[in-house]
Symmetry: D2
């Protein structure tokens, strides 16, 4: 079976590997769809990000779905042939964070396709994957492409929980890549009243509007858009900062009302904040990282038609065109989510 292996920046190879058999509690899955995420792109384009660098070849990928091919001993919650979304989150269950219900902060996390520990945690862009049954969310009724969106959706559901009560709130989303647009869907699903989105690309802003944003601003043209929301100490209850750009965060702060919550989703390096405003308006800046149970919640919400991610999947390419897909995914002016079709070779 074939895997997608990153060796170094711009050195992505399709390699043959041997499929493993499922052990007790495990299932063997024929991967159907795999979405390319921003961190995959960092490995592909730069060989890593920040201090996280590739030190050995690594199978990429952590947004995958597929059909159950074989059940390991003792697995009776799934059936052969069933479509499942596979959670890439594999916490240890025993460390103090797992035991506190914060599995996304597990000290021994083995998240697919991550170069953070060494040896690296190999990823899920492979035709045959053996996973624990507890990682698998039955996805009957979804397309495999939708099911593969469960991972970034979970990121945004987790962020929405971190943002606190959403019902009736005014929400600003800065940065409308896949995470930003999914944040719009999640905020709306959680009861946000007004949603405003900003970006520098009309392509992504159009997606944002279709996902439910009431108003969108292309900050290239409307650099003073936030001024309209800044009277009387500000307007927005919640900001989902999905751009990782300091200008977006700093620019939004005058538009946040006192006590407002800023959820930082976009991974970034150092950022300079206007701390006087943060302090005087008692803003709350909260990091949000990965997810745990939200993976299963997201699949259920998609199955019920309560969240529709299909419009975000703008490109689907066969596994053999992986390099093209990675190049395409790197171009935010025309691509929202690019997925690989692992069945089509």
């Amino acid at each position: 079976m074939k895997s997608i292996v990153i060796h170094a920046a711009k050195d992505l190879r399709i390699e043959n590997q041997t499929a493993a058999a499922p052990g007790p509690g495990e299932v063997q899955i024929n991967i159907a769809s795999g979405g390319i995420c921003g961190s995959d792109l960092h490995y592909y384009n730069h060989g890593g990000f920040g201090t996280v660098r590739l030190r050995e070849p690594m199978v990429l990928g952590h947004e995958v779905s597929g059909h159950v091919a074989a059940l390991g001993e003792g697995v009776d919650s799934l059936r052969v042939g069933q479509l499942v979304a596979v959670s890439p989150s594999r916490p240890c269950g025993d460390c103090r964070y797992c035991q506190a219900g914060m599995q996304n902060q597990c000290l021994n996390m083995r998240f697919y396709g991550s170069a953070m520990p060494f040896p690296h945690i190999q990823g899920a862009f492979r035709q045959v994957l053996v996973a624990n049954a507890v990682q698998c969310a039955p996805a009957d009724g979804l397309t495999s492409g939708e099911a593969a969106m469960a991972e970034p959706l979970a990121v945004c559901l987790h962020a929405t929980r971190n943002a606190g009560p959403m019902l009736g709130k005014s929400v600003l989303v800065t940065g409308c890549g896949p995470i930003g647009v999914l944040a719009i869907l999640c905020a709306r699903r959680a009861g946000a009243d007004q949603i405003v989105a900003t970006d520098l690309s009309d392509f992504t802003l159009n997606m944002a509007r279709n996902a439910g944003a009431d108003t969108v601003f292309n900050m290239s043209d409307a650099s003073d858009a936030m001024a309209g929301f800044s009277a009387d100490k500000g307007h927005f209850d919640v900001l989902f900062e999905c751009s990782g750009a300091q200008a977006a965060l700093a620019g939004a702060i005058p538009a946040m009302r006192p006590g407002g919550v800023i959820v930082q989703l976009g991974l970034s390096g150092d950022m300079t904040l206007p701390m006087m405003a943060v302090t005087a308006k008692e803003l709350q800046l909260r990091g949000s990282f990965r997810f745990h149970q939200e993976f299963f919640t997201g699949v259920s919400l998609m199955q019920k038609g309560l969240i529709d991610v299909k419009p975000l999947i703008t490109h689907t390419l066969p596994l053999t065109e992986a390099v093209t897909a990675f190049e395409l995914a790197s171009d935010r002016s025309q691509t929202m989510k690019a997925q690989l079709d692992f069945a089509q070779t």
Copy 2:
């Protein structure tokens, strides 16, 4: 202009009154629609409830909408002819609860159509109403019937906030009158994943299902329905208790998971609770009463099509048929929400 005045149980009269002119900060409104609420029915059928008794004639009604007829001095946020939903909540703004942001607990509340203080607070079932501009939510784009639903919707939005985070939660609703069905709409809007509803009437349960309940149980036939949710200490994260019936509350407790939240919405007399289970499972029983800002939130959510209350309005009768409407509204086997048309005489 005509008003609907309750004199005693079953003594409801349509009377002529003189329309007032709007003072500074006030507006005069030609009332269009008025919904009949459970408390209106208590006055009509029983002359009050608990220790709250009619002691003088009182105009009924607190679920109303209408068109602005005249603007008092200094009102520039509304325009003549505009449809508005009128909040019946008139807190003083100065007492310690108002100053703590708990206006629904105002010590000097003047809520329309309430016999709680004496002299009673006269209600809004009248053809011409003078209200403060701040009570009026512009309702452009809604029907007057929808706008008149803003009040019970606000009750349920407030209850949903009281319930805490809703995203991805499993919710049980006991009692599917207008409050129960609106609670389903609100829970879904706030991101609930699974919603189960119970009642004793197939008519209301059908409404519940159409409003978004995944599963409904008629407890007349399925008295053991909760047993299926009671394994491993229970299943539901949240219960909206909208029946006011002790059997419903006590019966649901085994199906609540540890730490689950019970929001009591149905006003009732004394209730006997299995405190051993409440304590051992660390359940949280929270009362919910009226609303404040949620009135305006609800109008906005309806305007955006994010909550649809129209199917709940099962009957609309002209003002002149008020007695028929009150009788009809008392019959839960065929009526969800009965409204009066104040323009049609």
Copy 3:
């Protein structure tokens, strides 16, 4: 070595048992002190409570401390001779509640001295106990009596957490047995401003006052004491209901301010609540049950002198006088906490 075994109501025996050796991760402890708890008394006086009944002989006791006698393989966090408080809470670590950080709700809990499952979970009133090292809180600097108070202290720390923010709050405590008095100590430690306590016994109320209650009421003499706190919808932010008596709970409700929190600590049977007041004032009734990490927190707070439990230990008897101790502990007019001295035979 000797154990205290309950066979049936009023049939308490001191029996010889064989001491076990510690396995990997375990320690052998020479028990020094053991406090008699309300549930021990239920078994002793009534053979159980509610549906929980003795079905086989059971070693009682879950409030114990002792000195490490031997270390099992791999234990390096403790040393022989060290005083430890032993947590009776033994959750499985794997069930969904453990994995959610709610270990006190573990589906497979093995809490010392509990007849809830069958075979019963044998208790800790024995001269030699083998426990997991992770159950042991080093208690250097404390007396063994204080260390044995870590368990009921943890119950009250957990309840205080459940009550929410305490800084500057007005707190009412109904029922001043050991749990009530410890709740006073915890509420004060967590920053309560005003603490009022009620009971029917001058003996316990005197303890309450010494523990920090600003005002105490003997409800035998001052049955209308709550009326003074009931104006303007009530006064107290928090109620710790530690009596398990319906009269105490119902009587306190008019004195609770809107939005107030009632933490139910006293296990009891069914209770009838004035639901109209609960709903209209939006009170929150929260059960609180056992504890988990708070056991270690409590030991640390005692070691720093931030909570002083010594005055509560009113009686210490040798193991051989266990029956006398149980009789004494049942008499709330003269006993706060009675402890057994396992070293003194």
Copy 4:
């Protein structure tokens, strides 16, 4: 009567002004003590801070206490001669933040001695002050110096509330000026278990230790002190950042556990944050600004002996030596809180 008026940086004058008479709801107060705050020092040393600049002469001061000299019409909650702490917080009560219970964010705040609006809000460093009765907290039993500490104490009580539950938590305090040391007192009062404090001055660290810090580090000598708390993703639950120094904030982040809360109290300019760590550990950075009801809470806690601020008052000088006092207060190597004695001239 004399006032302390700032005209420009280093131009502080004692001037004669006419005492006003109290109107309805007001009281006339003979000011006894006035504490010099960091913002007073900014005006004195620099003529302002950030964009807030002196544009006209302004009476300084907002930490004052005094004795009631005369009661205005309708004031019956105070008596002539009574010591009161005077809250400098004067919100409008009507704006949307006041009506939401966020009076410290009032859009029309008139906080004593503040150059933020123009004309400036004149301060309270004057021998005779007329204030609203609702600003006055009866301070019987306190010294006037203690009563004048109610204001900075309130700042720290508010910050402690913003920090969330404190019982049993590990707390780090960076910066041990008056706000830092009061934060230690408040954290301890609210139930913190472990408190670690850092500063660059042995003088302030000694104060911190006396106030209850378990461990203190002079970062001049122990620049790697935080490394000891940074294993396994960090240690502290809460950080009170009271230095306003970027190095303190950035240096503490590796020592914060996932989900930890950082309360920013020290007003500062822009700060650069390691956002990757904030995001990946899901830290929460919360601004905290001024206070409201906490002013009265603080007086009550001091009266009960639950918080002792007396050791912080290191210097008391007569009004006539105001300039000396301001110079002294600017020297953190020997001054914690310097107060002026307005009665002694």
